[in-house]
């Protein structure tokens, strides 16, 4: 599949020429039969949109820029934090506090001034997703949350753009190409995202800094293969990467005719026809900003902000304060008066606790604590409170002397 074919610019004559500087710069590509001058002109003609200038977006942007992709789109709303520098090579120490888009712009320009960068300093959301993606050939999913991943998938399917997909967790990653003609999409594999609180994210579980370098680079290779129409892209295959044992494995992913995103209407699929569709479930709550549900008179998880928690502690109120993070996190910073019960041990440890005493739970940012809170409710606890924003909010709003991580 040659991507440029979709833009009526497939004929060699209509591809942009390479000047003398570019011929020298890309000479190692020109020597490859699979690339050559025409291939390099295809790369120059290509437009690739990267969602996220973080762990995956960094190596992908750097390598695609170096490779000579003519137009790189980059979407990110975030600012550079010191905790990003361990893996996000688009950003330097001096960039901490700057917008990621500005920082990325400088770096990409330094890598290859021939690349035109279209920067979108905004969140990729349903109100702008189609408009942003429409003018690109390929999307590269480097987001860090389920809501944006499902949105990216559905936008790509609606517009018929292939999606070079990658994701990471701790020491493991996944990569694939979704949304290619006749290929499966992300929803064919995982139809719906997990509910809030069930799955920890990277900021809570950690990630080896080099890992996104590996996975984002694979995404960049797949994007180039699509541009050039060479090799066998990861269409219909999911690459599973496990770096502690250093095992790579691919498993087949089939296109699902009943898939709500890319399926066939005659088979009950293809029900997501625009991004306003509620079936899409793009709410940010799916990536960890949970709200308490209210179902009848059953006990529910109550929420408390860090500031409210500080006030309650100040008043000497009676409750158990439980920290469900890992010991390494506890060593960095903790709320005075708490005790450590890592999430995986909550169920067992709580067997001996008083089910009628209030338990207030916190973690780093509020995802694991919600999971623990739900486990306690399921175990018959009646008064369970979750600290919104976890120790991150506590550090920001109550005790700035604590170390951030």
């Amino acid at each position: 599949m040659t991507l440029t074919a979709t833009r009526d610019q497939n004929s060699s004559a209509s591809l942009p020429a390479l000047d003398a500087d570019e011929t020298l710069r890309y000479s190692r590509h020109l020597l490859l039969d699979e690339v050559g001058i025409d291939g390099q002109r295809r790369i120059k003609n290509a437009r690739v949109l990267l969602i996220g200038a973080g762990g995956l977006g960094s190596p992908a942007a750097l390598y695609l820029a170096a490779a000579g992709v003519g137009t790189l789109g980059l979407v990110d709303f975030d600012v550079v934090d010191a905790s990003n520098l361990q893996r996000q090579l688009l950003h330097d120490t001096a960039d901490v506090g700057r917008s990621k888009i500005e920082s990325a712009r400088d770096r990409i320009k330094a890598v290859n001034p021939h690349v035109h960068l279209e920067a979108f300093d905004t969140r990729f959301e349903r109100g702008n997703a189609l408009e942003i993606l429409r003018d690109f050939d390929i999307v590269l999913d480097g987001t860090d949350n389920f809501a944006t991943r499902y949105l990216t998938n559905d936008a790509a399917v609606l517009l018929g753009k292939p999606n070079s997909f990658g994701c990471i967790f701790r020491f493991e990653g996944q990569a694939s190409v979704f949304g290619a003609p006749d290929g499966p999409c992300y929803r064919c594999l995982f139809r719906e995202p997990p509910p809030a609180g069930l799955v920890p994210n990277c900021s809570e579980a950690g990630v080896l800094g080099v890992l996104p370098g590996l996975v984002g680079t694979i995404q960049a290779i797949e994007a180039l293969k699509l541009i050039l129409g060479i090799g066998e892209p990861l269409i219909g295959r999911l690459l599973l990467i496990e770096t502690l044992g250093m095992n790579f494995r691919t498993i087949a992913v089939r296109k699902d005719p009943t898939c709500p995103s890319c399926g066939e209407p005659s088979r009950g699929g293809g029900t997501i026809r625009d991004l306003d569709d509620r079936a899409g479930a793009y709410s940010e709550s799916s990536c960890g900003v949970p709200t308490a549900s209210t179902t009848g008179s059953e006990p529910v998880v109550r929420n408390v902000t860090a500031v409210e928690l500080a006030e309650r502690i100040g008043r000497g109120e009676d409750f158990d304060l439980v920290d469900v993070r890992e010991p390494a996190e506890w060593e960095i910073a903790r709320i005075e008066g708490a005790r450590l019960v890592p999430l995986a041990t909550v169920r067992q440890a709580s067997e001996n606790w008083d089910r009628n005493r209030e338990v207030v739970i916190y973690c780093k940012s509020g995802v694991r604590s919600l999971n623990a809170a739900q486990q306690l409710l399921d175990a018959g606890f009646t008064r369970v409170t979750n600290v919104l924003g976890g120790i991150k909010s506590w550090t920001a709003d109550v005790d700035p002397s604590l170390r951030r991580y």
Binding site: I168, F190, R254, A344
Partner: protein, 91 residues
């Protein structure tokens, strides 16, 4: 029948850190029951309250998606490999 269940890191942490566990059962569902009983923290992450697969965890029996077979009713044989692939979001 002894089946090898392969768990990625995100799930292995809930199974005492084991990336491979051996479990008995005649169907995928029975194997899932067995490991759920052994590792209670794992149970809520790999199947829903009704005991059915989640839409965000895919089971591969010897590299074949069980949704193409009989799901949790798919029968397993001695020495089969069951690999769990959960959706992960990090980037």
């Amino acid at each position: 029948m002894a089946i090898t269940v392969t768990l990625p890191a995100v799930l292995a942490r809930l199974a005492d850190g084991n990336k491979e566990v051996s479990a008995d059962g005649a169907t995928v569902g029975e194997v899932v029951d067995a490991i759920s009983t052994r590792y209670p923290s794992l149970s809520t992450r790999i199947r829903d309250e009704a005991g059915q697969p989640y839409p965000f965890v895919v089971y591969y029996l010897n590299d074949e998606d069980i949704r193409l077979g009989s799901g949790f009713d798919s029968s397993v044989s001695d020495g089969d490999d069951l690999t769990l692939v959960p959706a992960i979001a990090g980037g």
